[in-house]
């Protein structure tokens, strides 16, 4: 008799499974979870904490707040940040002052761990939400974050 009950139970469980998929089939119109990615670019918004790439925000006077302290360079586990710096004499105080010449960011080596942004004492660098990073040549992934002619915002050092 267990032979027949095996068959009965087998068919019953199979039909139960089919009812689950069948329910989704009937609701397939509104239930689809596919994101049609390049088409939904306009509506696709990443969360504000999403770690896409490191950027250095500049204000309208072309000023940033990077003092060249190199803490980000030290914090980076894989050497993606490279700071070329210089010493100039401050016109107001007459003291020697460290300024950045180039804040180089090797995006190709970056693992988006967030340690540099966490380490920055003056919030000079932050995360941007751009995630479309493919390029034809990997040299394009090496970026200079400070814009040409930019200088450090007054009062950041204190």
């Amino acid at each position: 008799m267990s032979y027949l009950s095996d068959i009965y139970n087998g068919i019953k469980t199979l039909l139960t499974g089919m009812s689950v998929t069948g329910k989704y089939f009937l609701n397939s119109r509104k239930g689809a979870i596919t994101q049609q990615y390049p088409d939904n670019r306009d509506t696709l918004k990443m969360f504000e904490r999403f770690r896409g790439e490191v950027v250095m925000p500049h204000d309208e006077n072309n000023e940033h707040s990077c003092t060249g302290c190199q803490k980000c360079e030290l914090a980076c586990p894989n050497g993606s940040i490279e700071i070329i710096w210089d010493r100039v004499i401050d016109e107001n105080t007459g003291k020697k002052k460290k300024i950045i010449d180039q804040h180089i960011y090797h995006f190709g080596m970056c693992t988006q761990c967030g340690l540099c942004v966490d380490a920055c004492p003056s919030d000079a660098i932050k995360w941007a939400q751009n995630f479309e990073n493919s390029v034809y040549d990997r040299t394009q992934l090496t970026r200079v974050l400070n814009q040409p002619g930019s200088k450090v915002r007054a009062g950041v050092e204190e």
Binding site: N9, G10, T13, L14, T16, G17, S19, V20, T21, I33, M46, F47, R49, F50, R51, K71, A75, P77, T111, Q112, C113, G114, L115, D118, A119, W127
Partner: protein, 373 residues
């Protein structure tokens, strides 16, 4: 069983096949050297090293903050728990007092990670035994967890949210709301998982009595996590050595005694329920406070040896750090659950069919970068 003697003209030979490194069932670049006789498996020999990145060696040149992000890349499905293991180890060495808020948030994220990992495992388990639709249902639910992670931690897979001393940022204002939404959603989905796959007669035939592992063998092979617990070996680190906020929550250790593939399957489904219950106990009373305690920019551990173990979705992850007092560790060793669980494979798959091997491997739930590191 030997058919070799039946007729000398038709000698049955053992047959050697390479399963992987490019094979759909090995979940990555694992290579299995199979010796088979017809469909019956005579020997399984895992060949590792295809994704070895020498993470342990890289740790020796990194500072303690930098080690954390490497552990994301080991068992990428429980990356948050891996991060926490390193952070706990460093914090214990420094004897830091961690705020209650951090502990609770860490535990919630741990359990979310566990559910997410088990969701993926459930989908892939179904796919390995041939039911392709489970994959999409599992991923649909995992997507909600990934969104929670993305909103709070900034990444979907390699979160790197823990730092020695606390968390990188405070939780996002939406976090609690979203977690509650997910819990409400997911509670209706596990019964559906059961209806679709667990109860299915074909699935049960494929898994019950397949890949039998006794408790003694589980202990002697060092099995941990759901693989060990399915054999009746009580090895939940969360229960026996509670860390973070696990000492104040009430949960049952998912245990089974059969030790077959179906038992491992049930243990994982049970763990999802337990994780939900842990999150529910904690989500409403996250204490106020700081999200990190200040540490030195350059952390130097006191000279000595430190060990911390946590329960990842796959089993017991141990972090062993030897420090000589400098800013880099002298040696780091990760005791990964995947490697010891994989070492069982030859023991439990021999004598089964090729299909059994695939089903068994799916229930061991290997993540290849966790095995190779």
């Amino acid at each position: 069983m030997s058919t070799a003697t039946i007729n000398n003209n038709f000698k049955s030979e053992e047959y050697f096949i390479n399963m992987g490194p490019q094979h759909p069932a090995t979940h990555g670049v694992l290579r299995l050297l199979l010796t088979i006789d017809g469909e019956i498996i005579k020997k399984v020999e895992p060949d590792l090293g295809y994704i070895h990145r020498s993470i342990e060696k890289m740790c020796e040149k990194d500072s303690y903050q930098q080690i954390v992000h490497l552990t994301d890349r080991m068992d990428y499905l429980s990356s948050h728990i891996n991060n926490e293991a390193v952070c706990l180890c460093v914090e214990n060495a420094l004897q830091l007092e961690i705020p209650e808020r951090v502990k609770v948030i860490r535990t919630i994220l741990d359990e979310l990670t566990r559910i997410s990992s088990h969701c993926l495992w459930w989908g892939v388990m179904g796919m390995d035994v041939g039911a392709l639709t489970t994959y999409f249902y599992g991923f649909r639910d995992r997507e909600m967890i990934n969104d929670i992670f993305e909103e709070t931690c900034g990444a979907r897979l390699t979160m790197n949210y823990n730092i020695p001393g606390g968390l990188m940022q405070d939780i996002h204002p939406n976090f609690v709301k979203r977690v509650k939404e997910f819990i409400a959603h997911f509670k209706t989905k596990i019964p559906e998982y059961n209806r679709l796959l667990t109860g299915n007669v074909i699935f049960q035939k494929r898994t019950i009595g397949v890949g039998l592992l006794t408790k003694e063998d589980a202990i002697s092979y060092g099995a941990s996590g759901p693989v060990g617990r399915a054999s009746g070996y009580s090895c939940d680190v969360r229960k026996h050595h509670p860390y973070s906020a696990l000492d104040r929550v009430d949960f049952k250790e998912a245990l089974a005694t059969e030790g077959d593939s179906f038992a491992r399957y049930r243990v994982r489904i049970q763990e999802m329920w337990e994780s939900i219950s842990i999150i529910e106990q904690l989500i409403d009373n996250i204490p106020e406070g700081d999200f990190k305690v200040p540490t030195n920019a350059v952390i130097k551990l006191p000279k000595g040896e430190y060990y911390q173990k946590v329960e990842t979705a796959r089993g017991e992850l141990g972090v062993y750090i030897i420090s000589t007092g400098t800013k880099n560790p002298y040696r780091v060793k990760f005791r990964s659950p995947g490697l010891s669980n994989l070492s069982l494979l030859n023991h439990i798959a021999v004598g089964g069919k090729i299909g059994d091997l695939v089903a068994t491997m799916a229930t061991i739930d290997i993540v290849v970068p966790d095995i190779d590191r």
